[in-house]
Point group: C2
Chain length 225, copies 2
């Protein structure tokens, strides 16, 4: 009888390897988010994946490398979302509100949450620098959309740098307090947090809801209510 | 000749001891804020104080206990500031804006910055729980001032829980990006960040600056420009 190889073809093995690597990252991110980076051991992560720690070392050098990847993916998700929004075009505020929605959504997901809850602090200086470069890129995107919105007359004149940090701070904070088992959906949270940032806390003489364009801008297609 | 005691009286020694303990905490907070908690060793902190590590152990059990105290003091500063504002009374928005200003100011200071930049994540569960109780207390203060502001008709109706987190998130984020040697003073930052939160990003048909009461409310006595 002709011997059939018990190994799968190379491309399938590569695909499997990648799926396993992703599973390690996602499981680690969930554990970092729940218990904190320091309270998470690689033994825990391995046990949750039904393997032992040496198996993880086939994919990653150590816990720091895993965290680096989790945070990098979180940042990349935001950056790519912003890139997609930019590619679709539109006014500064249209793009800004779309990026805000994506940002709010991503920080309630495993890697985005890990980016905010743990971040780069436990890492070595070189790794921290790389992640900070990615962060600065996202910050520049916010800033330039705000500048564009001011120039186009839709946003109130303000210091775009501080406004960008105010927006990013409020949205990032969602990752700190959001509970997947809580009463509020990520969508409700995003909508209301963005509404505070866009309309302000103080009651407007002329409510924005009377202005269909601006309402459509930030409530967008993902509004469910 | 009559022997004079080379030791200072008890009350003075107690005062000195407290000053030294405070110096350890402040020096540690500054180092945590600059380099991160994990990258800071107690040897560094001791060296910066011209002593050796065993001297620090006279005041604190370990680095975790020092962090606990730094974060606790940061939270206590905010809580006490909010308590002082409450004692002076005023409408919900008047109190809310006053607490927002104090919060923004405190997170640019050593312990407040440490509260946000490092926080309770590196600590043991029992310590984390204690600090989270203090955090929840501050959150409840924000929430109830927002509810009061809505009830009094000054704030736009919103989910007070999400609005409180939005405000706390935006203000806390200042601690992450503020650089004492940067071009913006804590006062400028506070003013502009609060202005975004209060007035919103979108241009108002009727600018708030035409409404003297609300301007006075959040620009308050600490406005320097």
């Amino acid at each position: 009888m002709k011997q059939i190889s018990p190994w799968k073809p190379l491309h399938e093995r590569e695909k499997e390897r990648r799926a396993k690597r992703d599973a390690v990252l996602r499981m680690a991110a969930q554990s970092f988010n729940e218990k904190g980076f320091h309270a998470t051991s690689l033994d825990d992560v391995a046990a949750r994946l039904n393997v032992t720690k040496p198996t993880l070392y086939y994919y990653f050098k150590n816990k720091e490398e895993i965290l680096f990847e989790c945070v990098r993916i979180g940042l990349q998700m935001i950056d790519e979302a912003a890139e997609n929004v930019a590619r679709r075009g539109g006014t500064g505020v249209e793009q800004l509100f779309a990026v805000m929605r994506k940002y709010a959504e991503i920080v309630t997901m495993d890697f985005g949450m890990c980016l905010i809850r743990v971040g780069e602090d436990p890492l070595q200086p070189a790794a921290r620098r790389k992640l900070r470069q990615l962060k600065a890129r996202i910050d520049r995107r916010f800033r330039s959309l705000i500048e564009q919105g001011i120039a186009e007359g839709d946003l109130a004149p303000c210091d775009a740098k501080i406004a960008a940090f105010t927006v990013a701070g409020a949205l990032s904070w969602i990752a700190r307090w959001y509970r997947p088992d809580g009463p509020l959906s990520p969508n409700d949270i995003a909508e209301q947090c963005i509404s505070v940032l866009v309309e302000g806390l103080v009651r407007r003489a002329e409510p924005l809801s009377g202005r269909p364009r601006s309402t459509a801008m930030y409530e967008g297609p993902s509004r469910t209510k």
